[in-house]
């Protein structure tokens, strides 16, 4: 591997022909000429990356990027061997034979149609001496009960436990649950339904449902109530080390009285006593209960509100979301790098929040944090704190919960870490004890 592999990989990520879904938001935005190259205005050679000899990779950023290091672990920034990629063309990375790896493991068995794949220790890895696992086999098992049965029989070492199975396995010795990097919330579209353009109506909806009960009885898998745009333990104050979430506190909490007051005010402003809204969600088992619960809570606490539930397959929901053809929508978000910006970026005007949210105050604060304050960590952090508060002062959306993943994990597996972003697990230091 040489510096040229990085140059090629990064150029390929930004190249508009590649149509990378992650290239635009990560690589292009931060590299010199990135956006121009991505929009086809400049050739890829003009991108701010070059190889200084075979072993020095030089990156020119478009602006200071405080979270640059955490970006580098995401797959878009990995090196690619030009000869190999060109040789395989459209088939690159479509099977174990057409992909290359230089990490602790390499894929030895995988087809795009497979429901089973295998990774084996990479003897050529620079740090191969510390890698203890010889082989990892993945099996796709769609039915969670079957996965749990396979686990009980000792056929597999780890199985995900779905919400409906938690009660059955929670007292199991091998049961664990960890917080995922995923926040679920209710999008409130301000552009389709006149009533939802009213800030008081939105404020009422945000605080009119009991999130604790939702997490305890419907999710029941260790998921936690979420109170803002960032989860717990994600970003720390650069000097005091205090948690972002702790400083800003509960920005959106369950409060029936406040909700009803805002609701009355909103109805008065709109000159009506009845509001009808549609609630959009993915068509799955969990959402059947979740949508029923939400509709019930909101209708009970906000008199005159009528909710119609609409559940559609994922692809269709995304289309409705993009076209802003919904009123309320259950959706989730995750972060791609270690910075508050990763959670906040889509709330800027036209940043892809798909709910018509646009705030000069918010935009200004984010712009400050990303440009003028980029080199002043404390002030930058404070700008993000302020920006998050603005979101809830303007009742942009309703946070619901941070998802947790419940699992059965064999105690013989040591040091396999679940990762907050970029990849699911790190097995480099993992070992199996008998």
């Amino acid at each position: 591997m040489t510096a040229h592999d990085f140059v090629f990989g990064w150029q390929r990520a930004v190249d508009p022909e590649t149509a990378s879904v992650t290239g635009l938001y990560t690589v292009s935005e931060i590299l010199e000429n990135g956006t121009a190259v991505n929009q086809g205005e400049l050739p890829v050679e003009e991108l701010g990356v070059k190889a200084d000899g075979d072993y020095t990779f030089v990156v020119t950023l478009a602006k200071p990027v405080p979270y640059f290091e955490s970006l580098l672990v995401t797959m878009t920034f990995l090196p690619q061997n030009e000869a190999f990629v060109t040789e395989h063309g459209d088939n690159f990375a479509t099977s174990a034979d057409t992909l290359l790896s230089n990490g602790p493991f390499k894929m030895t068995e995988w087809e795009s149609t497979a429901s089973k794949w295998v990774m084996e220790k990479n003897e050529d890895y620079w740090d191969a001496d510390v890698v203890q696992i010889e082989k990892i086999t993945y099996n796709v098992v769609k039915d969670p009960q079957v996965a749990a049965d396979l686990y009980e029989k000792g056929e597999i070492d780890r199985a995900d436990i779905s919400s409906d199975l938690v009660d059955q396995y929670i007292s199991h010795d091998d049961f664990t649950a960890f917080d995922e990097n995923a926040l679920f919330y209710l999008r409130i579209n301000q552009t389709r339904n006149e009533a939802l353009a009213n800030e008081n109506v939105r404020a009422a909806i945000i605080s009119a449902f009991d999130k604790q009960a939702l997490v305890d009885s419907i999710l029941n898998n260790g998921s936690k109530v979420s109170y803002g745009a960032l989860p717990d333990n994600y970003s720390k104050h650069p000097e005091t080390d205090e948690d972002f979430r702790e400083i800003n506190g509960k920005l959106a909490d369950y409060d029936v009285e406040a909700a009803q007051a805002a609701w009355a005010k909103g109805l008065e402003e709109l000159g009506t006593d009845k509001i009808e809204v549609e609630l959009l969600a993915d068509d799955n088992e969990l959402n059947k209960q979740m949508t029923e619960y939400l509709a019930n809570q909101l209708q009970k606490n906000l008199e005159g509100l009528a909710i119609t539930i609409r559940m559609v397959p994922f692809e269709q929901r995304i289309e409705l979301d993009k076209n802003m053809n919904y009123d309320l929508e259950i959706t989730g978000a995750g972060a791609s790098y270690l910075d508050p910006y990763s959670w906040l970026n889509h709330f800027v005007t036209d940043g892809g929040n798909n709910m018509g949210y646009s705030s000069e105050r918010f935009d200004h604060l984010i712009d400050q944090a990303m440009n003028d304050l980029a080199m002043e960590p404390v002030k930058r952090f404070e700008a993000f704190l302020e920006a998050e508060k603005v979101l809830f002062e303007e009742s942009a959306f309703a946070p619901m919960y941070q998802r947790a993943k419940a699992q059965l994990v064999s105690p013989r597996i040591k040091d396999a870490y679940a990762m907050p972003f970029a990849k699911d697990y790190e097995y480099k230091w993992a070992s199996v004890t008998e």
Binding site: V21, S112, K142, D149, E315, E319, K322
Partner: protein
């Protein structure tokens, strides 16, 4: 005979063409984008991809292109499984489905006929009621319940078979039993009804009067006549059994085609939807032809070329 088969094949081609056309237009009416990761794509990227896959062309042009490629045996490339040709998806996935389907069909039909025969011979006796009850249960218990029960009893509790996943023959036993219950019950029901009717007819009475053994009467004279309606129902069942069943594949975590088919519809993967639909249609048509030819073999009174038999 050859002329008949040729004529039938022409009709088959026409039928396939019609199915391909209707599916094509129905599929285009599915809501949602056929592209993957649409929530992360920009408008410009989406445009570029739609252009690349020819999805911006007028429907008539897309249709003409599709039929053109189809005639040359090209089913296209899946939108969702990283540039995988649809033929490869089918090839990689159909093995387990075919194996399970064939095992279930053969075993189910044989056992079903046996059960039906016993019921007919001991008409209104204990054996009849037992086998009829079994058949009714087999038809009415949904396969996911039955598969789940089998798995729970024989794999999870008794540990006789693997719980799930796909490997050697032992992995196919429980899914085969789960899958075979429906053809078994159907075969038993039809065999019983037909046999009771046939055994009561005049030529059987004649045979009995001639002193032919009961064994020969039931198997040679009776069963042969009862097979006609049975083949009519089992044949089409074979087509759907061999192309995989979502429920069984999910419960036993089998990498079959049934799951792929359902998934392709969910995500609007047009080429895969078309490919799998056509495969099912093709199998169906071929099986119907085979059945028609089999009729002649089983019952000489049925001749395919209009009575000019020699």
């Amino acid at each position: 005979m050859v002329r008949y088969i040729l004529k039938r094949m022409m009709y088959m081609a026409l039928t396939l063409f019609l199915i391909a056309s209707v599916t094509f237009f129905l599929m285009k009416m599915l809501p949602g984008s056929p592209l993957k990761d649409t929530d992360d794509l920009t408008k410009a990227q989406e445009e570029m991809l739609l252009e690349r896959y020819g999805l911006n062309d007028p429907i008539s042009v897309q249709y003409a292109k599709y039929i053109g490629a189809l005639v040359q045996g090209d089913l296209g490339t899946s939108f969702h499984f990283s540039n995988t040709p649809v033929t490869k998806i089918i090839k990689d996935r159909i093995g387990p489905s075919m194996q399970l389907g064939a095992q279930a069909l053969v075993l189910g039909t044989i056992l079903g006929i046996g059960l039906g025969l016993i019921a007919a011979v001991f008409h209104n006796g204990v054996w009849d009621y037992t086998s009829t009850t079994l058949a009714v249960l087999g038809i009415s218990i949904p396969s996911f319940v039955f598969a789940g029960l089998l798995q729970w009893i024989f794999a999870v509790n008794l540990g006789w078979f693997p719980v799930a996943l796909w490997g050697g023959f032992e992995y196919s036993i429980l899914p085969t039993i789960a899958l075979m219950i429906f053809p078994l019950a159907t075969a038993a029901r039809f065999t019983r009804t037909e046999m009771i009717e046939v055994l009561g007819s005049d030529f059987i009475l004649t045979a009995r009067a001639k002193g032919i053994s009961e064994y020969a009467i039931v198997l040679k004279h009776g069963l042969r006549n009862a097979l006609i309606p049975l083949i009519t129902v089992i044949g089409p069942m074979a087509a759907s059994l061999m192309t995989g069943t979502l429920v069984i594949e999910q419960i036993f975590a089998i990498p079959g085609l049934g799951e792929q088919f359902v998934m392709s519809v969910m995500v609007n993967d047009y080429p895969t939807i078309m490919g799998t639909t056509l495969l099912l249609a093709f199998l169906f048509i071929v099986i119907i032809l085979v059945i028609d030819l089999l009729y002649g073999l089983i019952d000489p009174r049925i001749r395919v070329d209009g009575g000019k038999s020699s």
